[in-house]
């Protein structure tokens, strides 16, 4: 089902946490709301659920305006960060709860609970209570309870953040597979950009309650709309150097290199990803010059932190990279891989723009 947010805003007194947020989630789409804590993503999700009132704007699910509809009448299921399992009910009773409220016949409830439990590998744990389960198992119960009634929309509020790193990776894959299998429209909130990139069909990046960019993970990564998105997505994040554009050449204190833009403009930030640049010998032309600050072997690559004008610049180098700390180097960036941003507004500079 389609979920449309039409200029929704949310204010708590004088504080506005969501500004005129508009986005459309297509049927069966996995939409991730990504942003730092306090950016309004959870509030936006809770507004879709109906747990938070909407200050202005409209929410439509499958074309029906649900802005003032009670949560229970929105046909929505939600997985909470805390899982919110009912501690006095067994796993089976927890999963059956939404069906029991809908007054389904007991035989039908039992059948559906078993079916869903099998889907999330909980068949053997149905008689246990939440307190007797591990974090991953609780997570599965919460998922099962959400999918058992085939909701129109699935909402997830950082469902993986309470799991340890290994389990998180595993559950991420399971979640993605299950969403694909069920084909239910999903809105997923996270501050973890890796989760966002791996799970989403499309990512909506939020900051300070405003939508920054909404696009596929590829384009969010390769073609960020502004400096916030560029800096938030990617690990390690994008490097930035301040300077000016001189007829298409980026000029900084210890930089001079060609870019993809044919512009002249003062007050510009040059951005480039650690994997897009290369370390060359000191004194080479068309590059940033600096010194090596430290280098860390990660496994399949080496992360080299350089100092350029006292600023750290991170470069992803070959596994075989081996240069002493303090060595004079140059950093070469292909013109096509440079991103330029307005120093003041943070907006991306593109070839059409003034």
């Amino acid at each position: 089902m389609t979920v449309e947010l039409d200029h929704i805003s949310k204010s708590f007194g004088p504080l506005t946490v969501v500004h005129e947020l508009s986005l459309t989630v297509e049927p069966g789409e996995f939409m991730v709301l990504l942003g730092p804590s306090g950016c309004g993503k959870t509030t936006a999700l809770r507004m879709v659920a109906g747990l938070e009132s909407v200050t202005s704007g409209n929410i439509r699910i499958d074309g029906r305006d649900v802005t003032d509809v009670a949560p229970k009448n929105r046909n929505i299921a939600m997985v909470f960060q805390s899982y919110a399992l009912y501690p006095h009910m067994s796993v089976a009773e927890n999963i059956a709860y939404p069906l029991k409220i809908r007054r389904l016949p007991q035989a039908e409830i039992d059948r559906q609970v078993l079916e869903v439990a099998a889907q999330v590998q909980l068949e053997t744990l149905l008689k246990r209570f939440p307190r007797q389960l591990s974090g991953g198992q609780r997570q599965r119960v919460a998922l099962a309870r959400a999918i058992v009634r085939r909701p129109a929309v699935f909402l997830m509020d950082e469902p993986l953040s309470n799991l340890d790193a290994k389990l998180r990776g595993h559950m991420r894959a399971e979640l993605k597979h299950m969403q694909h299998e069920l084909g239910i429209t999903t809105i997923y909130v996270t501050h973890d950009q890796i989760e966002a990139m791996t799970l989403a069909h499309r990512v909506a990046v939020l900051n300070h309650g405003r939508l920054q960019q909404i696009d596929t993970p590829h384009r969010i990564y390769d073609d960020p709309a502004n400096i916030f998105v560029a800096g938030f997505v990617g690990s390690p994040p994008m490097n930035f150097v301040a300077g000016a554009l001189q007829n298409g050449r980026f000029e900084g204190p210890s930089v001079s290199l060609p870019t993809a833009l044919r512009l002249t403009k003062p007050g510009v930030q040059l951005g480039f990803r650690p994997e897009d640049c290369r370390i060359v010998g000191g004194g080479a032309a068309d590059c940033l010059s600096g010194t090596i600050y430290s280098s860390e072997l990660i496994g399949d690559h080496v992360l080299v932190t350089c100092r350029v004008d006292g600023q750290p610049i991170v470069v992803k180098a070959e596994k075989s990279f081996d240069q002493a700390m303090g060595a004079e180097i140059g950093i070469q960036i292909p013109a096509s891989r440079t991103n330029l941003f307005d120093l003041e507004s943070g907006a991306r500079l593109r070839s059409g723009s003034p």
Binding site: R102, P130, L133
Partner: protein
């Protein structure tokens, strides 16, 4: 070799071997104090028990401690209470059972719903409206009592003026009261001892013709115990995570269903502890019962006190009555103890 050993020996006397275990010396002191206190608590019960089997002559000085050795136990007091008094014992007893249990159930039902509402819904009554209400109420009462106005007329006019004032005067005062104020107002009802209101309560039930009835006692006890229930249950409801209720809401449950199906079961330890406390208060209540009941609705504490009447204190009869009076409370407490166990909320969120 011997010196260090004696040092460790002395040390182990003052220090515990493991964290979470008392040092030997502390153990002796702590358990010693607990034993002394146990004797202090249990000895009166023992004394009541043996007194109930004593003849009047055995109660006299010097005290007799051990049945069969110091004196020959007798069942005369028990026979008097159960056979001679008979219905005069059983009627107050059943009165107490009815009044205490029904008033406790009522107080728990109404009180826990009020506490839940206070813990979840933000109330913001305007201070102006509250003041206006109190003033108009006072005026109505004055008009009826002193002015001789027909009460129906007075109430209707008062209500009309109040509604008008709500729309005009009430809006002018911007100050709000919050849930905390309401909660304090409720518990403040209990700061005033109920005795202060005993005479007005007596007159009220007299006018209604309800003196010496179960209804009067049940209504009074429910009212007196309500603030305690609200105050105690509020804390238990606040401790139930909101996520659970939001989840149930999305699962399709109504507010009332969430209260019955999710919140109450999770607050069960609190509900039972509060229920026991309120039940014991109602069961032992003496002063209001003295005002409100005479014969038909007389409760058991009154019967106990009555044994100290014209013939002087009848210790042996009193002891029998005290034993049958505390027996059900003790039994109930033991039966419900396991439900007061903690840890019910474990596994709800994170963990």
């Amino acid at each position: 070799m011997s010196a260090p050993q004696s040092v460790t020996a002395r040390k182990s006397f003052f220090e515990s071997r493991r964290f979470g275990e008392l040092a030997p010396l502390s153990k002796v002191v702590v358990y010693g104090l607990l034993l002394v206190w146990t004797v202090v608590v249990l000895f009166p019960l023992y004394w009541v028990l043996i007194t109930s089997f004593k003849l009047p002559i055995d109660v006299a000085y010097p005290p007799k401690y051990l049945p069969f050795i110091d004196y020959q136990p007798s069942l005369h007091a028990w026979r008097y209470i159960f056979v001679d008094l008979g219905n005069d014992t059983f009627r107050p007893y059943s009165n107490s059972l009815i009044v205490a249990s029904i008033s406790t159930l009522l107080a728990l039902t109404v009180g826990s719903m009020a506490a839940y509402a206070l813990s979840r819904i933000q109330y913001r009554p305007r201070l102006g409206s509250v003041v206006v209400f109190i003033l108009i109420l006072a005026a109505v009462v004055l008009a009826v009592a002193a002015g001789g106005v027909d009460w129906r007329l007075a109430v209707a006019v008062g209500l009309a003026i109040f509604l008008l004032a709500l729309r005009t005067l009430g809006r002018r005062f911007k100050r709000h009261l919050g849930n905390g104020d309401i909660l304090f107002w409720i518990i403040s009802q209990r700061i005033l001892p109920p005795v202060v209101a005993a005479i007005p309560i007596y007159v009220m039930f007299q006018k209604l013709g309800l003196l010496d009835t179960h209804v009067a006692l049940i209504a009074t006890y429910t009212t007196v115990n309500l603030p305690i229930v609200v105050w105690l249950m509020y804390d238990f409801f606040v401790a139930v995570p909101k996520d659970l209720e939001e989840s149930a809401q999305l699962d399709g449950a109504s507010r009332f269903r969430i209260f019955i199906g999710i919140v109450l079961p999770l607050a069960k330890p609190g509900l039972i502890a509060t229920g026991l406390l309120v039940l014991i208060l109602a069961w032992n209540e003496y002063l209001l019962a003295l005002f409100l009941s005479t014969v038909r609705a007389q409760t058991i504490p009154l019967l106990v006190a009555a044994q100290n009447a014209t013939r002087g204190p009848q210790w042996w009869y009193m002891s029998v009555l005290i034993i049958i009076m505390i027996a059900p409370v003790v039994a109930l407490t033991i039966a419900l103890q396991k439900y007061i166990a903690k840890g019910l909320l474990l596994g709800a969120v994170k963990g």
